[in-house]
Subunit: 241 residues, 2 copies
Amino acid sequence: MEDGGRASAVDGMVQHIRGLIRDRGMTVGDVLPSEGELAVMFDASRNTVREAFRTLKAYGVAESRQKVGAVLTDQHQTAMRDLFSFAMDISVDAFRDIQGYRRLTEMNLFDLLDGRISKDTLSEMDALNASIGKATTPEEASDLDFQFHRLMVEAAGNRTLSETYGMLKPVIRRLMLAGKSQRLALEGVVAEHADIVQALRKADRIAFVYHMNRHLDAGLEFIPTAGRGDAGSNTGMEEGR
Amino acid sequence: MEDGGRASAVDGMVQHIRGLIRDRGMTVGDVLPSEGELAVMFDASRNTVREAFRTLKAYGVAESRQKVGAVLTDQHQTAMRDLFSFAMDISVDAFRDIQGYRRLTEMNLFDLLDGRISKDTLSEMDALNASIGKATTPEEASDLDFQFHRLMVEAAGNRTLSETYGMLKPVIRRLMLAGKSQRLALEGVVAEHADIVQALRKADRIAFVYHMNRHLDAGLEFIPTAGRGDAGSNTGMEEGR
DNA sequence: CAACCTCTTATGTTGGACATATAAATCTGC
DNA sequence: GCAGATTTATATGTCCAACATAAGAGGTTG
C-alpha cells in the first residue's frame, strides 16, 4: 500500500524499516533486526537492505556496529551539518555569502563575549594565534585559523551558535584555505587576530567590530569573484578518509 | 578529530566523489562518472560505489537515472524534510534544534536589515501579517507565517541565509503548524509580528531582538518537551512522493 | 522525414563468497 | 570458584558475478 508505483526496492525498504520503527515504537538505543533478518522479512536482498541502511545513516538515524547490528541514534545534528556542507559544494559562489554570514554572527559576538570570556581563553587564543605564524602548510594554518575563531565562538556560550559554526566548518575551513599559501597574507591574519584579542581584553566594542570587519573582509580577497576559477591542483583535501 | 576515525570504504568513496565534484567544479545538472568507472577509478567494488551514491541521494545532492548515470541535483529541501520527518520518528527534540537555529539567524538579522529593508517590504510584511489573522485553516496560517518570516530573511540580501531558510522550509512550516489551531495563539503571533515590524520601522535594535526572542520562544510552547510523548499529532507526514 | 526496431550502455537487484570485528561462550590457571 | 585468556558464533563490511530493466543511440524502412 505504501509502495508508490515506481518506487525502487531500496526506497521501499527504507519505508518498511521506518514502519518497523514506528510500529514497535523504537527510540534511540534500540537495535534494528539484522540485515539478513530484514532481507527475509521483506523479501529482498541483503544488499538492498544495506543500501536502505545507508540512507538511515545519512540521516543520522541509525548507526551500525558489527556483531550488534544497527542501533538507532540521534545524530541528525551531524547529518544536518553534512547536508549543508555538501550543499555548499554544489551551489558554488556561496563563498561571499558565507563570509557575509560569518559577519552576521561573529561581528555580533561582542555582546556575548564581553565580561564572559575568561583570561585563560584569551591566552589560549593568543597561543593559537602564535602557532598560526609557525604553521608550515596552508592546511595547518587554516586549521589553526578555524580553531581560533571557533574558540572565540565557543566562548560566547551559546550552544546553537557553536553547533552552527561546527556545521559550517568544512566550508569555512575551505574559505580560510584560500590565500594561506602566501606568507604575507598569513602574517596579516596573525596581526588581525592579535588586534581582535586585544580589543576583547580592553572590552572595546568599537575596536572589536572594526578589526573583525577588517579581518573578514581580508579573507575575501583571495576568493575569485565569480564562476569556477578553481585551480584544483592543491586539493589534498582528505578530511575524512 | 570528529571526521577522522575509522573510515569505511564507502565513507572514503563518498569523500572521493565529493573531491571529484570539487576538483571538476561540477554543479547542478552535471553527470558523475558511471558506477563502474568510479569503481575502477578509486579501486573499489561497484557495490561500494552504489552505497556511497545512496548517501548522496539521501542528501539530495545526486539522483540517478538509468542509462544516463548520476546527475547532480538540488534537492536539499526534500532531503531536509525527509531527514526531519525521520528524526521525528526517533526523538522529538529535532524541533528544538531547528528553533535554536532560527533564533541564531533571525535574531541577528537586525544589522543586515537596518537601513536596507525598504518601506515597501515593510508594508508587505504588514499585509501578510494582517492576512494571518484572517486565515481560516491552521495550514493557511502557518503558510502565511512562513511567508512573513521568509520575506524578512530575504530582505537581508544574503544568499546563503535565504537558501538555508528555504532548505528548512518544510520543517519550519511544520513547526509553525503546531499551536496554530488555537485562535488565541494565532492572535498572539499577529501581535508579535506587528511588534517586530514596528521595531524595524523605528530601527530599534533592542526592541527587535526582544520581540523576536519572545516570538521564537512562544513558538516552542506547543512542542512536547522530550522523550516519546507521542501525542499522535505528528502523523501527518506521509512518505509518498 | 518520421516511425519503428535493434543495440548498447548503465543502473537496479540478486545471491553468494570471504574478511573482519566483537559479543558471548568456553576454557585455563590459580 | 573465579578472573583472565581463548575460542566460537554471529552480523557487518566488502567484493564479485550475474541477470533484469530502462533508456539513449543509431540504423532501417515506409
